[in-house]
Amino acid sequence: MQYQAIVIGTSAGGLNALKIVFSSLHENFSIPILVVQHISSHSDNYITKFFNNLCMLNVKEADEKEKIEPGNIYFAPPNFHMMVEEDKSISLSVDKKVNFSRPSIDVLFETAVYAYCPALIGIILTGANNDGAKGLKLINDNGGLTIAQNPKTAETRTMPQEAINISKTNNILDLEEIGKFLNKIDKDQKKILKNLN
């Protein structure tokens, strides 16, 4: 399988968790990453600045209609849902909150399934509610690869635990392992591509 995108959802404790995952990704990691981090609707763009300083990839807040390109990490803007179009571009929406959240992880995951599955990786990290659990199940049901952070070592365990219960994912990893796991996938699929050419 050549994975074309990674979607990640997290809430409480997410910044620390993402920091560990992102800083371990190798420099030419090329699968594009889309992230929903629950955040106050009044916050500015400090998150993207923060991550840009500590990882090799280009981290940005998503713009509407933006084409999803390799080597980028896209964050949903505060107070907008982020959706993936089947032409692999980003749409934003101010639609009602879902699971008390805007942006909502389920909205991102649900639309990413149509655009990418089965070539999609979904990841749920630390968090305090159940947003993303349905979305992760949908990715699993449609043949994508799903990962949940190990609830035992998560800063807040509810979100990954709910995701595991509902999606039945088999990949339960500590944060340190997630980056390594993704690096390996990225490297392996590049090798296969190279051999094909």
């Binding site: 713009d63 509407e64 209609k65 803007p77 907008f80 959706m83 993936v84 179009e85 089947e86 749409s91 934003l92 929406s93 101010v94 639609d95 009602k96 909205v107 649900e110 639309t111 149509y114 655009a115 599955c117 089965p118 449609n142 043949g143």
Partner: protein, 279 residues
């Protein structure tokens, strides 16, 4: 049947549904964001206990009330007063001083939803002393939200957020000067409605109806594809006087449109543009 096939069929069914809606009712959603339309339609399929989008199509054609439900599904009406307070602050500080130089001012709110944005503007203009010489046109393609907008009554549990926004937006009085509370609602002052005309207007299918100093169209164009956005930008350009202002939502931009060279940027962050002179 495999997943890819199912998805292909879903997309075909949605396309046919949108054609049916357009042919029967004249509302044209064919160039809206596909991810948005699909999400809303699939949710309606499960919420109404139907088995497929084709069943939705049948019901839409034969049941006008059901069509109204679909219309509501597809038009996202979520809004608030002084949404993005920094936008209103900028408007107050950078645009209003110029507006004050005109003897008579016309403002068009396109896609005004339930009216919160329009009343925010009315309050701002009132506090700046120019409301009495302003005419506001507030339009939307959804009759139901226009009806609510005309009433100007909002649930009291939203007032905390509105007040917070009002203060951040540079409000000079107390927000409570502008409404009276009754049971679990707040009723905006009648004087705010005096110069507002609420009317049905569809940005996709209707044309220019007035020449205005300011066009405000926020969080509507994010639902349109590039082609449709360009149509609407043309409409706005034709409606604006020379030196008039175009204001978009915080995540919308004129930068990639055919119309970009006709404007100067007043604020990139707040998405405020000024139509050049001599255009």
């Amino acid at each position: 049947m495999n997943q890819e096939n199912i998805n292909e069929n879903i997309n075909i069914e949605i396309k046919l549904l949108l054609e049916a809606i357009f042919t029967k009712y004249g509302y044209d959603f064919r160039n809206y964001s596909k991810a948005h339309i699909k999400r809303r339609i699939l949710h309606r399929v499960s919420a109404s206990n139907l088995n497929s989008i084709s069943e939705i199509q049948h019901k839409v054609l034969y049941d006008k009330d059901f069509f109204e439900i679909i219309l509501r599904d597809l038009s996202i009406n979520v809004t608030e007063m002084f949404r993005d307070p920094s936008f209103y602050k900028h408007l107050r500080e950078e645009v209003v001083p110029i507006l004050k130089t005109y003897p008579y001012i016309k403002i068009w709110h396109a896609g005004c939803s339930t009216g919160e944005e329009v009343y925010s503007m009315a309050i701002l203009l009132k506090e700046e002393g120019i409301y009495d010489r302003t005419q506001i046109y507030a339009t939307d393609f959804n009759k139901l939200v226009l009806q609510a907008a005309k009433e100007g009554i909002y649930p009291i549990n939203k007032i905390k957020e509105f007040t917070y926004n009002y203060q951040k937006a540079g409000g000079v009085n107390s927000f409570s000067d502008h409404y009276t509370a009754k049971y679990d609602s707040v009723i905006l002052n009648k004087s705010l409605k005096k110069n507002i005309v609420f009317a049905e207007h569809n940005l996709v299918t209707d044309n220019v109806f007035a020449e205005v100093n300011v066009v405000i169209c926020r969080n509507v164009l994010i639902y349109f594809d590039k082609k449709l956005q360009n149509r609407v930008f043309n409409l706005f350009e034709e409606s604006l006087i020379q030196g008039g202002y175009l204001c978009l939502g915080s995540k919308e931009s004129l930068s990639f449109s055919n119309n970009f060279n006709k404007y100067t940027i007043i604020s990139d962050k707040e998405k405020i543009y000024k139509k050049k002179l001599g255009i």
